[in-house]
Symmetry: C2
Subunit: 366 residues, 2 copies
């Protein structure tokens, strides 16, 4: 899995049973992008810097990068006698156009060539999970709810899986749900705004342990401005991305308001928490676990701000509280999707993506 | 098949046997691009006009265009009770970087989303044939030699399959050859320069029946300039494309020399013939059929110029002389490749592409 946070590729080794009842994380690591590769990805997602030659080349270059990362995992475990069945690859999203507008039709673009991954690893690859959902009217996102349904569905409790990566997104799994009852949507920015501010003020990659957010004060003026973002008035299920809350958004804010560095970071963290709470407000019922995953779950200031913003009968937990891995969650989800594709089964969740029907996602490369 | 000539998508219905000995063309038509869609493709292949949003959207839009074209063919024949097993799609090439240079690594980019084709047609799709060959050090081109080997291999004669599309390329099949003895390479421009000149002077799409080329005179000065193109000094097997002989090349010529319109077209046609003859010179042996396919085979002026440039013991023939279809040839080749992929067999030709080994090409979308 290579997400919107652009920090590298997450590699998860997952043990599964053919009956599809259990997917168990055996090993996990992240291989960070080199500065050079990150620059290429950053250029390729930028409408003004990107061009066809760069995208053509980057698709192959990321294929090698992903392939080498996975190969490291495979070789480590083949030495232990384990058999590797397949690789599932999400790819790096370069662009996501959830609905048609102007000259662009609803579309998504992931790169990191599966043919290269298959050749480098010697293992068959399942990839490109989002396109088929869009071909049946879905937004191609979120992509993880099927996996979350398999892994977290509970007979006694509603569970909300709240992922906080570059952006934030939630999956609502009502108590004892069927797949048709799952809802999922993006809940706003994740670490994207916070990271951008920390890079701007401190030349660091993220707010380690929420230290800066802990020290500043919330600017109500700026917070109010942020809460007026058009994202909150879009119809559900809604999606967002770098085009809403990326560098351009942060630059415009910095040009409009003046605050001390930590007040900016505290306000952005509060905004991130409020966006999540507001997006989920109508779904909170008694006996709800709000389970935070993704990089944001390692930011205790953000977690306590989320707890402040939700009703007291909602328990904020982390993946680790449930014995799962927060950082590996999305990579594990790809394995679940890949397995479904290989056995010819559907794995989109129409109630989450807006698709008109369930379809088999992905492509297979031998 | 949607080729470098950017005129639309070719749809071939092919009847095949599981034993892979026969692939028989049953029906064929071309669905032309609308002016609007052609403009988008033209922008997307242009390094200065292209960007990530356009490429993202075009991949899906071409998927619908290809899917609808194929659906027309499928519905026509399903009404006759025929069973359609699979669709093979080449995709529209947006860029091809045969070898690594500057910041770009060896790569290729085809779009026309297979997931959309599969959804629109309801039939499984095999696509993306070029990438895996590049992953084993090949140039990803030419892609048709395996099919040509299957369809044209002859025990008594050497056969050279000379395709003249936007660019021109040849496959050499020695008498009674094995797959390892096949050679293939691009032989230079095809109709690309001629078409560009006809558009420039007459606002028509191509030199119908070679009429303009028949009326002009060859300028030896311009011809000599053209023959000094760096393409001819590249090592074999070599590839070329729009980046060598496209609009930029023609514009530069028109800026440098002044000739009457028909002299330009005659000189370009002569150059196209000479480029083919020169590229093939070392391969001509007694009992060689030079079988011309592609749009260029409908240009009798070009055909007679080719006959002038080759030794007299070489017989210039067309696909039609052999009972095959010139215009359908590349589309038929995709079916052969797709069939190989579905049964898990290799179909690149390392002696043609420079690949280090035979690999299974393509991806399968259910």
């Amino acid at each position: 899995m290579s997400g919107t946070s652009l920090d590298g590729v997450d590699v998860a080794l997952v043990k599964y049973d053919e009956g599809m009842s259990s997917y168990e994380l055996e090993d996990f690591f992240t291989v960070p992008f080199s500065d050079e590769l990150k620059k290429k990805v950053t250029d390729a997602i930028d409408i003004n810097q990107s061009n066809v030659a760069l995208i053509c080349s980057l698709n192959i270059e990321l294929g090698y990068f992903f392939g080498e990362a996975v190969k490291k995992m495979i070789e480590k475990h083949q030495r232990l006698g384990k058999k590797i069945d397949f690789v599932a690859s999400h790819g790096q999203t370069l662009y996501h156009q959830p609905i048609s507008e102007d000259n662009l039709i609803a579309s998504t673009l992931q790169v990191g060539e599966s043919s290269v991954i298959a050749e480098v690893t010697g293992v068959k690859v399942v990839s490109d999970f989002r396109y088929r959902d869009m071909a049946v009217g879905g937004q191609g996102a979120p992509i993880v709810p099927y996996s979350e349904f398999i892994l977290y569905n509970d007979r006694e409790k509603q569970r909300i899986l709240q992922n906080i990566g570059g952006i934030s997104n939630a999956t609502i799994i009502p108590k004892n749900a069927t797949i048709q009852e799952i809802t999922a949507f993006d809940t706003g920015p994740g670490n994207m705004i916070i990271d951008e501010l920390v890079r701007h003020f401190y030349q660091e990659e993220y707010d380690d342990n929420g230290q800066y957010a802990k020290q500043g004060r919330v600017s109500e003026t700026v917070l109010e401005h942020m809460m007026s973002h058009s994202f909150f008035s879009r119809p559900m299920p809604r999606t967002t991305g770098r085009e809403d809350f990326g560098q351009h958004y942060v630059t415009a804010l910095l040009d409009t308001y003046e605050l001390p560095a930590n007040d900016w970071i505290t306000t952005a963290t509060k905004f991130t928490a409020k966006a999540i709470a507001l997006s989920l407000a109508s779904f909170f019922v008694n006996d709800t676990d709000l389970i935070i995953g993704g990089g944001g779950s390692y930011n205790p200031t953000l977690l306590s701000m989320i707890q402040e913003e939700v009703p007291s009968f909602v328990s904020v937990k982390t993946q680790e509280d449930l014995g799962q891995s927060s950082e590996a969650k999305e990579a594990v989800a790809m394995v679940v999707l890949g397995h479904r594709t290989l056995i010819g089964k559907t794995s989109n969740v129409p109630s989450a993506t807006g698709a008109t029907k369930e379809v088999i996602l992905g492509k297979i490369t031998w």
